[in-house]
């Protein structure tokens, strides 16, 4: 290779381009020249005596003239290459890196692709430039190659490559236009031609240095960590385009005006130019982004304005505390504290035995204590419940208080019942209402007993001997309770008109509750008669489920269900007592002692003592009556009436346990209610399943009035406000109101309260103060009804009667009526005796 042979390139380092170019000025010829110069100086200074070392080689002329190319390498030949060092990290000998003689001053990654890199090829392939050469002929190089080729052809002297690039570019420009456009793309077409030439030259400057190093570095540059520029240079050197690069360098030199470059330029450019021509594809090259053709674009986004926000929290609260410490202060404090502690301990000691002694009482206190937190919250809840109910049923409440049926004015002797609230308690809806009882003090409160009270089961027959007849009579017993349901539970619900939605108290019992009555004085006490024959007394104040008194479940009880209980007058000792009547034929008196119920039999109801029934083996058998109702005489607390299932009503006295004062053959079926008139104490009313209601006068065995309701009568009650008004309910769901003063034959009001098919009415109760009645049915529901004005007509006092009280007027009114019916009886006796006397 003539080039590698001739070119002396001491500045192999790409890092010193200036030096390199300077040194390049001294070609081999120049080097030879300088050697000659030295010889000349020697000649001048001294005689030609050659002093040489002994061991100098003797070379002949030819040998001396032989040109020896001296090559500078980047490697230090003295350095041994196989140096190893012990690495404690790897626990092995590792190759020690050879220190380089180069130094990296600037490392700038390019955004350009190298034409030979994989990416560049891929890009070329993508853009469709086929073939091996691809984009190699990116415009700079090809352009230069072409330029130099032309120059060479021309003779290549004179203006040099620079001129070719600058001035000579003029005519070449058109030819190169297609190629050169790549450059122009980046820099703009407006660039002067000369400028472009220069530009090109300067661009190639950097690249041109690299190949200059190539010959020296080509094989020896084995170190991969050598800077990338170096390796790029290596590739360049081998590349076809190398010539172009070299040409670029020459162009630069030409610019500087170095005429020495001529030969070299020719030499260097020749081969690559050929190669370039060969490699350069004849077809138009697609313009693609290349190593030197790029543009940067930048955009600056809008910077959001800054704002400063600051906040300060409140410092934690502080306080000031001061005190003084003295020994006596400490001592006093201890003394005081100790005394307090002692006092507290003594109290505790005292309190302990008390607690044990009265545990039970304390329990009760806790429950009844109105200040306990539980009770307080319950009370609050109750208040709110009442308020809500008042709001929701506001219209009903107003009706109850103020509404009077205006149509009554146009209806002589007839009235209506206005339904108000319905009271029920969801868990007891399946029970029958067995009794209703108003509280004597709180006129808005009433107790409803729930249980099963089976009314005429069609196929249940009982053999009875009728007291009047002499042969046994078989008939259905309407009051027999279904035995399958015997164990069914019962309940007592105490409602108040102020809260129709939920009972004020609910007492659950194991057995059906048949009856209940409030005590007339201590209105918190509720006597209850149960299906299983026992009686119990509840204290509503204690709001507990267990009764305060309860009869013994084995001996101290009735043998059959209790039909009715009623409070008697307190004993002389002040003990409360109550009477109960049961199906087993006994009337018991129960005295409430401190903790138990003390029982005495008042009377056993025997139907016919005189004629005991003959038993099977010649024994005799007395048949007892089944008591179903009891009523005390309003003025004589010792006298009471007992109704039986057989229809008999016995007048008894608590004084005589084995005889009746009188017996009425009142009904043919069980007597359901006996009720004394509020105004005339001798008048009472009875009702029965035999469809009839009868009004009696005490001492008279024949009824004064008889009403047939064409259905079993469940209950009958005198009205508390009038002596002549009474109301009854029948099983077919109707309520009947009679006013004897208006009509002795017809009810003044008959109203359907519940559906006849699904339901039956069982019980009825008059409110003592307000014109209200409540009726219970077989579905655990109690309906409250308001009596219209016609149903509660007050007697008008005539002028003569002006001095009489309303009570007397009522009595008079009734007496007048009774006089009609009892006249014969009265006429019979007194006048006769008087006449006799006279």
């Amino acid at each position: 290779m003539p080039r590698s042979k001739g070119v002396l390139r001491p500045g192999t380092s790409v890092l010193k381009p200036a030096k390199a170019s300077a040194l390049k000025l001294h070609g081999p010829q120049a080097g030879e020249g300088s050697r000659l110069d030295l010889d000349d100086v020697d000649v001048w200074s001294r005689t030609r005596t050659l002093v040489k070392p002994d061991d100098q080689l003797d070379l002949d002329e030819n040998e001396l003239k032989e040109e020896i190319a001296r090559v500078l390498t980047v490697r230090t030949p003295q350095l041994s290459e196989g140096l190893v060092i012990w690495s404690h990290k790897d626990a092995a000998f590792v190759q020690r890196s050879v220190p380089t003689s180069g130094a990296l001053l600037l490392d700038m990654p390019s955004t350009c692709l190298h034409i030979d890199s994989q990416e560049a090829r891929e890009q070329a392939a993508y853009l469709g430039a086929a073939g091996r050469i691809t984009l190699a002929e990116t415009l700079t190089m090809s352009a230069k190659a072409v330029t130099f080729k032309k120059e060479n052809r021309r003779g290549g002297a004179g203006g040099g490559a620079g001129g070719g690039g600058g001035g000579g570019g003029e005519d070449d420009e058109e030819e190169e236009e297609a190629d050169g456009e790549g450059d122009a793309d980046g820099e703009g077409d407006a660039d002067g031609e000369g400028g472009e030439g220069k530009e090109r030259a300067s661009i190639s400057e950097g690249a041109g240095d690299a190949p200059a190093a190539a010959p020296g570095a080509d094989a020896s540059a084995e170190k991969p960590e050598e800077e990338s520029a170096d390796s790029a240079a290596k590739k360049d050197g081998e590349d076809v385009a190398e010539g172009g690069e070299g040409a670029g360098e020459q162009a630069e030199e030409g610019d500087e005006g170095g005429s020495t470059a001529d030969a070299e330029g020719e030499e260097g450019a020749e081969a690559p130019a050929d190669a370039a021509t060969e490699a350069f594809p004849s077809r138009p090259v697609k313009k693609v982004a290349n190593q030197f053709n790029f543009c940067d674009r930048a955009a600056l986004t809008y910077n959001n304005p800054y704002r400063t926000l600051s906040t300060q929290t409140e410092p934690p609260p502080r306080d000031v505390f001061s005190d003084q410490v003295m020994q006596w202060i400490i001592y006093d404090a201890y003394q005081k504290d100790w005394e307090e502690k002692q006092a507290g301990r003594e109290k505790e000691v005292k309190a302990v035995p008390k607690q044990f002694g009265r545990q039970a009482e304390r329990k009760l206190d806790e429950r009844t204590n109105p200040n306990s937190s539980l009770n307080r919250s319950i009370r609050a809840a109750k208040t709110i419940e009442r308020m809500l109910n008042q709001n929701t049923s506001d219209d009903i409440a107003k009706d109850c208080r103020y509404y009077e049926d205006g149509s009554d004015e146009f209806r002589e002797g007839a009235g209506t019942l206005l339904p108000l609230w319905k009271f029920y308690y969801e868990p007891t809806k399946k029970f029958h209402v067995t009794n209703i009882c108003w509280n004597p003090r709180y006129h808005d409160m009433f107790a409803v007993t729930m249980g099963y009270r089976e009314c005429p089961p069609p196929c249940y027959l009982v053999l009875h001997r009728m007291p009047s007849g002499d042969q046994p009579l078989s008939r259905p017993s309407p009051c027999a309770v279904e035995f399958m349901k015997q164990t069914a539970a019962g309940a007592v619900c105490v409602f108040t008109m102020k809260n129709p939605s939920y009972p004020e108290y609910v007492l659950h019992t194991a057995s059906s509750v048949m009856t209940a009555e409030f005590h007339h004085e201590q209105v918190n006490l509720l006597a209850v008669g149960l299906y299983d024959g026992s009686v119990a007394v509840y204290d509503l104040q204690l709001s507990q489920q267990e009764p305060v008194f309860r009869s013994d479940s084995v001996h101290n009880k009735h043998c059959d269900m209790v039909w009715q209980v009623t409070w008697g007058q307190d004993t002389p000792d002040g003990e409360l007592n109550l009477y109960s009547v049961s199906n087993d034929g006994n009337v018991f008196n129960w005295v409430l002692t401190s903790s138990t119920l003390h029982q005495t039999t008042v009377i056993s109801l025997v139907l016919d003592k005189a004629t005991p029934v003959a038993g099977p083996d010649g024994t005799t058998l007395t048949i007892t009556g089944c008591g179903t109702a009891i009523a005390f005489h309003p003025t004589n607390p010792k006298v009471f009436l007992v109704g039986t299932e057989e229809g008999q009503v016995f007048k008894c006295s608590t004084e005589y346990t084995s005889m009746y004062l009188l017996s009425y053959s009142a009904h043919h079926m069980p007597v359901h209610r006996i009720h004394f008139n509020y105004f005339l104490p001798d008048i009472f009313i009875t009702c029965s399943s035999d469809w009839r209601i009868k009004i009696w006068e005490d001492g008279r065995t024949e009824p004064l009035f008889v009403f047939d309701l064409h259905c079993s009568v469940g209950d009958v009650q005198w009205a508390p406000y009038s002596s002549t008004v009474f109301a009854a309910v029948t099983l077919d769901g109707k309520a009947h109101v009679y006013d004897l003063n208006v009509s002795r034959y017809q009810p003044i009001c008959v109203q359907n309260i519940v559906s006849r098919k699904k339901n039956r009415l069982t019980r009825l109760a008059f409110n003592k103060k307000h014109p209200l009645i409540v009726v219970g049915d077989e579905r655990g529901t109690v309906t409250s009804l308001k009596l219209s004005p016609n149903l509660r007509v007050k007697p008008k006092a005539t002028k003569k009667q002006a001095h009489l009280s309303p009570h007397d007027l009522e009595v008079l009114k009734m007496d007048k009526l009774l006089a009609l019916v009892r006249e014969p009886f009265i006429l019979q006796r007194p006048p006769d005796t008087e006449q006799v006397v006279e």
Binding site: P316, R318, D319, F321, Q324, V325
Partner: protein, 107 residues
Amino acid sequence: MGDAQNEPKKEEGEKKVLHTYALVRFCDMVEEMRTEAMDLSANACEKHSTNNESAAKMIKENMDKKFGPSWHAIVGEGYGFEISYEVKHLMYMYFGGNLAICVWKCS
């Protein structure tokens, strides 16, 4: 509590009771912190019964560790003080019959 030592006093013949239990004079800490501070103070005073300074130091350092800085503690038999403290972080108690301990936080 209440571990009182009964020492018969010679003159007047009546019993003098010497109390050593921890008696809290003023405390507005929450319950948990209060018991912690009481235990800590009692322990420190028992441990350094002869050196109030080291007892105070121990209380302060432990309180710092447990409830964060900055706590202050005074242990002494006779002194007067007026401090400002972060509310809910003050305890003033007597201990051992003759020591007054004031622990508070103020950062």
